[in-house]
């Protein structure tokens, strides 16, 4: 059994070396296809998570302008409660929010020791959604409320995220199908080229009675390797891109609005690797099925 596996692996390595440039292009295309798939998939899941984490439509977040001591903060909370349409007001201390953020984003120790960029905030719950605009205006009239972006609601964010989800589904679906088709076709053709360039060996194998598995598995492994390697490259690229976006997200989006940037590296890379290998084996199987018939 081990002897057979060894022979098949040797043949697969010969097949991979035989088509150097074609192998490289098949791996690159598989990597691009899986990068698109992984990137869109990750974006989609991030949006879903983001949507779930958005505050309730009945809530507003109010940032305090500057620093207030405990007494004035309580007084301010009382004043906000008196605004018509406000159901209740809860203080969100800045230190607590920063700690939660650092934990949630899994930021490094060094990052966590940076100065806290959060202001103290209040979560203001509304009695009715229709009061949102009126209450927002009333809140902004308070002298201790930060004027620019001082009052935020999640309604527009939610609408934007839902719109983006639809777009990602549509564009992503089309791109994924096209890129998988391109990668599959390239792997199919690369394996076909290997079959053609190894006609002699295949003829000998067929004549001496090599089993179908012995003849086919090297080609399936070739396709599987191309797909898996493409998946690995895609996973690593996605990891890098995701880490970069995460590091920039605070600058781009602002702390409170930054998207969920956590990247589950190992599961994503493993998924892309397995998906790539499956795509490669499937494409190779189709290629081999057509060109490796033993008899009439």
């Amino acid at each position: 059994m081990l002897d057979r596996i060894e022979f098949i692996l040797e043949e697969a390595v010969v097949a991979l070396r035989r088509n150097g440039l074609m192998t490289v292009s098949a791996i690159s295309t598989a990597a691009i296809a899986l990068l698109i798939f992984g990137g869109l998939g990750h974006t989609y899941l991030s949006l879903v998570t983001y949507l779930g984490s958005l505050q309730s439509e009945f809530e507003l977040t109010v940032s305090i302008d500057g620093e207030l001591s405990a007494g004035p903060k309580h007084k301010m909370a009382e004043e906000l409660r008196t605004i018509p349409g406000v159901a209740n007001v809860v203080l969100l201390p800045r230190d607590e929010e920063w700690r939660k953020y650092v934990e949630k984003q899994n930021l490094s120790e060094m990052y966590a020791t940076q100065p806290n960029p959060f202001p103290d905030q209040f979560r203001v719950r509304l009695e009715k959604l229709e009061d949102a605009d009126r209450v927002k205006a009333a809140l902004l009239e308070h002298p201790n409320v930060l004027q620019e972006h001082g009052v935020r609601d999640a309604i527009k964010d939610r609408e934007l995220a839902i719109g983006l989800l639809g777009l990602v589904r549509l564009v992503g679906g089309i791109l994924i199908v096209l890129s998988f088709f391109a990668a599959g076709t390239l792997i199919y053709n690369t394996v076909r080229l290997t079959v053609m360039s190894r006609r002699n060996e295949l003829r000998i194998m067929a004549l001496v009675g090599a089993s179908r598995a012995t003849i086919r598995w090297p080609f399936l492994l070739e396709g599987g390797f191309q797909g898996a390697f493409g998946g690995l490259i895609a996973g690593l690229l996605l990891w890098g891109i995701s880490a970069y976006i995460a590091s920039q997200s605070i600058n781009w989006l602002g702390l409170g609005r930054s998207a969920e940037m956590g990247f589950p590296a190992v599961p994503v890379i493993l998924t892309l690797l397995v998906l790539g290998a499956s795509l490669g084996i499937l494409s190779a199987a189709l290629s081999v099925r057509k060109y490796l018939r033993l008899g009439a």
Binding site: D3, E201, I204, G209, G295
Partner: protein, 227 residues
Amino acid sequence: MIEFQNVSVEYPGPIFGLNGVNLSVVQGEFLFLVGQTGSGKSTLLKLLIRELLATSGRVLLEGRDLSTITEAGIPSLRRQIGFVPQEIGLLPQKKVYENLMYAMRAAGHTRREARTRVPDLLDRFGLILRSDAYPRELSGGEQQRIAIARALVNNPKLLVADEPTGHLDPETSLDIISVLEQVNTRGTTVIMATHDFQTISAFQRRVVRLEHGRVISDEFGLGGAGA
């Protein structure tokens, strides 16, 4: 051992590769299959290794109808038959020894089995001293010997050679037929297809002549029929 019962093979056209062939070959026999190009020799041999299926009639090998063998069963059939193809097809990047090792391992033998059997085969065919040579460094006759040795890696009961002397000079052709006779003396049935009437006239063996897909004579020795 082999039985062709009213076998016809029809190619698109329609052209008959074989047309109503009846032929029996017994175990241990040596048989020349002669005829001009297009007479149906290769078609008949391809039926034996199940590269082709008869359009009508039956081909039996040791009582088994070859048309009943599925794609999955073909490797097992081919391990019972040694086939020397028209094109020698040695792997140019492999040495003589490696060519035989490759065939044995492809056929399912372990590396250890191959390491024992390959030197035996090379010795038997007088090529032990050439085992480290590449095919391009061998003469046509030596290359053909290797192709015959390769066909014997599974120790088959039947050896089928399609025009093994096609590209060789008369002297080397005689040598190759002698090699096949040696194989036959060990009990292996040998069927050799050739268009070279001249060379085989030197051997007193059964000769089946084909023309336009039909058997036109089946006799012992050529008897000057087409020479």
